[in-house]
Amino acid sequence: MTAELVLAGRGRRLVASLIDVLLVPALAIIIMLVTGVLEHAADWSASARPVLRMFALGVASYLILNVWLLWQRGQTVGKAIMGIAIVSTKSGGPAPFWRLAIRALFFPTLYLIVWPWAALFPLIDQLTIFFKPRRCAHDYLCGTSVIKRG
């Protein structure tokens, strides 16, 4: 990593993640409201597969908030609020799309923390931030770092 980049603090990263975790269902609800996709009784019938629809709403919200924004700006909403951004560790510049795509797979695992039997995976991923380089397991895997953006 280049010398002028300063790693983001753990507290800022935590708050940014919490904001993003809450924004995904919030955006899903807004999409549901605007489109009326689950407003009518027929939308909840077994043949309409309401669970799949809700899942699709969540995925769409996630793609907008955590993939598209990261690709375009290097920041999610939470990270922008907290003044931090994701860069390629090697170049210090914007991370390429393929690295962000791999990284994106880890974000949904944060939702698993509420299930004790499944919490181990995201916990291990997140706890590695307490090592000196302040990088989560997914940062190592994707070759990214989270830095302060002034």
Partner: protein, 528 residues
């Protein structure tokens, strides 16, 4: 090597233990049936005559727990069908099971992971016996009673995209009458859901293949948009009017009777909280008698009366959750008895629905009052009314709670006796109310309470004859699944020969869940 042999021996021994729950003889006896409907008979009397039960006031003290089966759900909702040697019952999460009456071993299992929510029904046609049950959302299933193989399966009939099968259908002469409600009542908690559009109903289908014969909506007109609330979601009405419970049939007159629940949105209809009388042949209406008008409620109101989907003003939710009983007084007069969640009991003229007498048995509320089912002993001229009066939040009735069992004179509605119950602790789970349906024998009544007690009361004077406390752990069961007792609710006990069969546990409405299927038997006797 020696360790390996010991381990192998242990595995074989444990395997043998698990197999002990499987009967050597898999085919059930199918010559004697102890019920013909959820209400035991087509008239929904919940009365077992002497040729179907040998348990009496004189020998009930000899009832002993014979075996316990660990169900796969903490909220059992199935009512058993009993033959000379077998109990058929829904074990939600596992399937429909055929259990040996003497040992509780399993003859066969129809694997099904859904929620079996009905009594098990039967029909004999051309020498073959078919069993029927409903899954609360998936529909109607018909099985070969000999081996539990599927004959046919049908989605719930009618025009509701989100139907709920709560009440048990009724079978007569090749026709199944299916009561229909809707899970829209719960869906309304979502403020982005446009409440409400669905209708309860009654359908008739052919028992041989499930084909539809007729369908009657309980909301006579189709819904229209009545406005938009502050989240820009459409409000719609009229809606609701579920048929929660089994219907009752006058087989000689060809009239089908059933009760309905409240509307889900406003404006309301004149069919909610009513008793319907339909022509069984084609579903046409003979008469409808509404007892509570303007009752609009859905579960969004439980979150807040300010919820955008909660009707304003909110209604009291005073359904008819119990099937009406077609009773005959000792002097031969026919009466249709309807018990309401308000605690009111009405005797109606079956031909036109006119009120003959009324009795108010408790303070009532959204969970009763009269909740799941009453019983009648026509020969003795007695109507038995179980009263819940459990606290139901903002939908609790006014006045003093009177949980317990009431016996009324069938002809006049006069109180003969009451068996009032006391709470064993101050918690709501200790409610002494009788929410579950009851069952009567020739001179006694069995009732299970919300605080887990099963009691037999002398039907002549209300004296407590026998009691069993099911609030306990049952670590040893016939199928190896540990069980625990809880609230008695829903379908209540079944009397069959010298046995009493009942499920303990009902986790809904913050009551105590449990998964114990209990089989009692008169000690020293063999099942009839």
């Amino acid at each position: 090597m020696r360790r390996f042999i010991l381990a192998a021996f242990a595995v074989v021994a444990l395997g043998g233990h698990a197999d002990a729950a499987v009967c050597a003889k898999s085919s059930p006896g199918l010559t004697k049936f102890y019920s013909d409907a959820w209400g035991l008979d087509l008239r929904s009397t919940r009365f077992q005559p002497a040729d179907r039960t040998s348990i009496t006031a004189a020998n009930v003290g000899q009832l002993r727990l014979k075996w316990v089966y660990g169900l796969s759900t903490d909220e059992p909702r199935s009512y058993p069908l009993v033959t000379e040697d077998t109990i058929f019952i829904g074990d939600s999460g596992n399937g429909l099971v055929a259990l040996d009456r003497q040992t509780g071993c399993t003859r066969w299992t129809f694997k099904h992971e859904g929620q079996i929510g009905s009594a098990i029904l039967h029909e004999e046609k051309n020498g073959a016996v078919t069993l029927f049950f409903t899954d609360r959302t998936e529909g109607i299933f018909a099985l070969n009673a000999l081996d539990g193989t599927l004959r046919w399966k049908r989605s719930p009939p009618g025009d509701n995209p989100i139907p709920l099968l709560s009440g048990t259908p009724l079978i007569h002469d090749g026709t199944m009458f299916v009561p229909l409600s809707s899970y829209e009542v719960g869906l309304a908690v979502n403020p982005f859901y446009g409440c409400c559009t669905t209708s309860g109903g009654m359908a008739a289908i052919n028992t041989s293949d499930g084909d539809g014969l007729w369908y009657r909506r309980t909301v006579p007109t189709h819904p229209h948009v009545t406005g938009r609330h502050y989240l820009f979601v459409e409000n719609q009405a009229p809606s609701g009017v579920p048929a929660w419970a089994a219907p009752t049939l006058d087989s000689s007159g060809g009239v089908l009777y059933f009760g309905t629940g409240q509307n889900y949105s406003r404006p309301t209809t004149n069919t909610s909280d009513s008793i319907f009388a339909l022509n069984a042949r084609d579903g046409s209406v003979r008469w409808i008698h509404q007892f509570t008008s303007g009752d609009a409620y859905n579960t969004s109101c439980d979150l807040s009366e300010g919820h955008p989907n909660c009707p304003k003003p909110m209604g009291p939710d005073l359904d008819f959750g119990a099937p009406p009983i077609l009773a005959r007084t000792p002097d031969g007069r026919e009466l249709l008895i309807a018990g309401e969640k308000s605690g009111a009991v009405y005797a109606l003229n079956p031909s036109d629905g006119a009120i003959v007498w009324t009795y108010h048995s408790g303070r009532g509320g959204a969970l009763g009052g009269v909740h799941w089912g009453m019983a009648v002993d026509g020969a003795a001229g007695l109507l038995f009314v179980p009263v819940s009066d459990i606290v139901a939040g903002h939908l609790t009735g006014k006045g003093e709670a009177r949980p317990g069992l009431f016996a009324l004179d069938l002809a006049s509605g006069a109180l003969r006796w009451s068996h009032l119950r006391k709470a064993r602790c101050p918690d709501r789970t200790c409610s002494p109310g009788l929410s579950a349906a009851i069952v009567a024998g020739p001179d006694l009544v069995f009732a299970g309470s919300l605080d887990g007690k099963l009691e037999a009361v002398d039907s002549r004077n209300g004296k407590l004859l026998w009691s069993y406390d099911s609030w306990q752990e049952y670590p040893t069961t016939v199928n190896g699944k540990p069980a625990k007792g809880g609230a008695f609710d829903a379908h209540g006990p079944m009397l069959a020969g010298d046995q009493l069969i009942v499920s303990s546990g009902y986790g809904s409405f913050y009551q105590k869940g449990g998964n114990a299927l209990l089989a009692f038997e008169l000690s020293g006797n063999k099942a009839q």
